[in-house]
Amino acid sequence: MLVTAVLSGLVLGGTYALLAMGLTLQYGIARIMNLAYGETIIAAAFLAYVLFTGSSVNPVLGLLAAVPLGFAFGYFVYGLMMRPLVRRARSRENLEIDSILATFGLLFVLQGVMLVLFGSNYTSYSYLNVGVNVLGTNIAANRLLAFLLAIVLGGGLYLLLTRTLWGTALRAVAVSPGSAPLVGIDVDRAARFAFAIGGALAAAGGVAISMYQTFTATAGVVFTMKALIVVIMGGVGNVLGALLSGLMLGLVETFVATYLDPGLTLAATYLIFLAILLWRPAGLFGRAAR
């Protein structure tokens, strides 16, 4: 039972990590608290579903459509909705409040469109739903694939941010936006790219989720909250923190569900959230820009 719990915890955690990395880019670099983040996830899940059931395109290929679309959507939303807010914001707090209100509205617009298109039923499809033996435990192949995707995309993003000048510039905007123009960084452009990459990661996460979970048009907010909790656990803007915290949250939730009671998972999640807000408001790993 322990091995099963660890494995499914890591699978769930991998998805959380992927989702949180996207949100931490949007919140930490672009300074936009995007409440409609989960709707991008769900939209990508529906896209994977439509491609798979309608045209039998497998979800891994579906990523090739979902990820660029997620990027384009983020890029477009930033330019259209967020940039005017950024321009008029007198302070960071100001922008935070404005962006929360604006994306709260966007949340219901996107949710409404998806309700019209897909209804409010639970949706799922069966892809690679075969057991694979890992360390003596049976685990569904689609879950393993989702975990692999999270590790590859998350690890790739981490390397991009830490090993390239371009990524270092994005982190510089996260830690000292006021100083970034002094080295020639166009902060507005960096923010727009960070927001768009966040959208791409949300889309990737949505496709991963659709492979092994049921979802509904109204489930977005749950994912936004989970991602936000992981972001705050890891430290806002801290990508490695998001990766580690995501895995941790997945493990904790699975252990609580396995050994205590499945009904307590959400309670445990929010207990961790409250504890961190109270005692480690900068996150478990600090705000270090790694």
Binding site: L165, R171, A172, V175, G178, A180, P181, G184, A288
Partner: protein, 244 residues
């Protein structure tokens, strides 16, 4: 010396309001190629505002002219002013504290004009500030004020500027560190870079300068060679603590 003929950097009619407050009032100033110029003045005279406006960090009132190497740069945002060849080391240094020395310097060469020269610029900075070479992997916010100032200056030099502007570089530093800092700035100057320095340490800054301006209440009220300013009674009284 007919300065106006050789001015690489020329500010004219530069006024700046913060709300109702007039911070700069029709300021005119020049810096020649390879020249070192200091701006002296009391707190609140507008010295920092002048550098910020020149760097594109604040927008001056309409009608101002800031020309650099023949181009009008007055309406450019800060990241494009840097591309034109003007780097600013701001008051308080403005380093990326959560990043390492190496990352700060690498970002210094982020500008297109500097990117291809990253490695040679880095060697130059490390030879100018050998301490930084020993601490490449250290996070900048764990360093002393003097070391952070070296990072800030090193980062600015990485952008291969033609004009380096420094806002109160010695602020809050121990006297021995200030000595080291100005020795390093002297070497930067010898490399042919033009410097525009706002500094409270008047004696030190005049010692490496060619020329100086006096500022008061947002206006330029005097201009002379560094040697003449050093011996000027008004300057002595106001800034050098002499009882003449």
């Amino acid at each position: 010396m007919p300065i106006s003929e050789m001015a690489m950097f020329e500010i004219r009619d530069l006024s700046l309001h913060y709300g109702q407050h007039l911070a700069l009032d029709h300021v005119a100033a020049t810096v020649g190629k390879g020249e070192t110029v200091v701006i002296l003045g009391a707190n609140g005279a507008g010295k920092s505002s002048l550098l910020k406006a020149a760097a594109g960090l604040v927008k001056p009132d309409p009608g101002a002219s800031i020309r650099f190497a023949g181009a009008d740069i007055v309406s450019r945002p800060a990241h494009l002013v840097l591309e034109a060849g003007i780097a600013l080391v701001p008051e308080g240094r403005g380093v990326f504290g959560d990043l390492t020395v190496e990352e700060n310097l690498a970002l210094g060469a982020y500008a297109k004009r500097a990117r291809a020269h990253g490695k040679t610029s880095r060697d130059l900075v490390y030879s100018l500030f050998p301490k930084l070479a020993d601490r490449r992997k250290q996070f900048v916010n764990t360093m002393s004020g003097g070391e952070q100032q070296m990072v800030a200056i090193g980062r600015a030099l990485m952008s291969k500027p033609d004009l380096l502007m420094l806002d109160e570089p010695s602020l809050g530093l121990a006297p021995v560190v200030v000595g080291e800092l100005f020795a390093a700035l002297g070497r930067v100057r010898e490399s042919g870079l033009a410097l525009l320095i706002v500094e409270q340490n008047v004696r030190m800054s005049l010692s490496i300068a060619d020329r100086g301006y006096l500022m008061e209440a947002g206006r330029i009220v005097g201009e002379n060679t560094a040697t003449a300013l050093m011996n000027d009674d008004a300057v002595k009284r106001a800034f050098l603590g002499a009882t003449v």
